[in-house]
Subunit: 283 residues, 2 copies
């Protein structure tokens, strides 16, 4: 029997955050800013990354296994798919695989572009698989936007090499954006927003903002996804507010290369990731 | 009963060639040049690439499964591990997993450096996992060479982006080689050979040859591995010579992304790769 002085207060719900690697820590960072007393379980399926160059069938299988780990083993009550490729290619498969609300990054990114754009024409940069899925184009079209997408496969390796403020990265970004702008112009579009359609890209935001034409707003889908998550969690807001959680509680899991995750992850999360637990999803 | 006019001649042995991706097609190309009438089965474990950023345990499991496919399902009588990372981290595991001779790329690369170097000091460029394994350093040391290694993680994505003659790639190569040369100088070494310790790098050979200091020879481990394979096959030379195979027979298999393999593979093989068969190794 609990005394009136120490009423039992509910534990905060656990929010599962999933990515193929650790780029999704940029989404976790945005969530932590908004829910400082929540409990998070982050899984990076690092043994099988990058998803960006794999087929839809393979990505769906990997993502469903990862989502099941977060829900069944970690008790996640909400899932945020902090991976553009998995959101683009496997959101349905994940929703079928687990009985909790699942939020991807594509629709929040498109919604933020809709809010930012006056012309209705937007640019999207992403991995090869995300672009080939045409998921951003579809999500934008559903909101009355015209989107033009470009795969930028060198940007993830450049971020992982730590060259986030390097002249080579600046050149690569300008080459990709020049090609994208030329393509937009050829189609008669007048884009005024650029969606960062990969969770690694927020680390390149300063270089990208210098490289976009004047008047083009840069949309970080990590930020817009965290905003969308807040709306999704709204019914549980009281529980978050009253929870006994002292400080943010974050547990990080990876399927491989824990050392690399620990070494690079803090750049994405902007705080130490602590020790990362190695798990085996098979395969 | 066969008539004397048409004596039964042995079929050529099948040589299995394995890589995590399709970079190992540079090794297959070198093998085909030397054994134009042989039969080859090439497997790229593209669903699980890149091996270069994964742990030894994971790489060993993946590579053993792949080797077993080539031997059990394709009847390979020899295996060439055309992947530096798998050779560096999993050669023992592969040899334990299959009952046929297995040749990796590390020792042939080191032997070619031994033949080329007068100073006894050599440079090695490779993926992160290959460098961390120190396999080239050990193989070089066993031959009386001092090796200094550098991970160059941007070079594979640059090759896969098709930027094999691009000014950005030229700059990246010069940055990596400047760092490597500075490190060698700091250790008092006088290197006169550079081993390309990744099967993607032969596509960058022209840029690399322009970037190395004068007097430094560039060693392509694909070529030296094919030479070593010829010595390994020597006892079967007559069978290769007499075989009824009309032309080179190549079957290519991949665990994912067959389309990308078919699109990019011909750059590595320098001939059409034909249709690539999708297989499932689980996971």
């Amino acid at each position: 029997m609990s005394s009136p002085e120490a009423p039992t207060r509910p534990a905060p719900p656990t929010i599962g955050v999933f990515d193929s690697g650790f780029g999704g820590l940029t989404v976790l960072r945005a969530l932590v800013q908004r829910l400082p007393r929540a409990r998070f379980a982050f899984l990076g399926d690092t043994a099988r990354l990058p998803y960006g160059s794999k087929s839809r069938r393979t990505i769906a299988r990997y993502a469903a296994q990862s989502a099941q780990f977060l829900v069944r083993e970690q008790g996640a009550e909400f899932l945020v798919i902090a991976c553009n490729t998995a959101s683009a290619l496997a959101l349905d498969a994940i929703q079928d695989a687990v009985p909790v609300p699942v939020l991807g990054v594509i629709e929040p990114g498109a919604a933020a572009a809709r809010a930012a754009s006056r012309s209705g024409d937007v640019l999207v940069v992403a991995t090869d698989a995300t672009v080939q899925s045409r998921a951003y184009s579809a999500a934008c079209r559903a909101l009355g936007l015209r989107a033009i997408e470009k795969a930028c496969p060198l940007l993830v390796p450049l971020v992982e090499e730590g060259w986030t403020a390097h002249p080579v990265t600046d050149q690569v970004i300008r080459i990709y954006l020049d090609e994208l702008n030329a393509e937009a112009a050829a189609q008669g579009l007048r884009p005024d927003a650029l969606v960062l359609g990969c969770t690694h890209y927020p680390l390149l935001r300063p270089l990208i903002e210098r490289a976009v034409p004047p008047g083009v707003k840069v949309i970080d889908s990590a930020e817009s996804t965290a905003e969308a998550a807040m709306r999704l969690f709204n019914g549980r807001a009281a529980q978050f507010a009253q929870s006994t959680g002292p400080e943010t509680e974050i547990r990080c899991f990876a399927t491989d290369s824990v050392e690399k995750f620990e070494r690079l992850g803090s750049r994405f999360l902007e705080r130490p990731v602590g020790s990362v637990e190695l798990i085996d999803l098979g395969g």
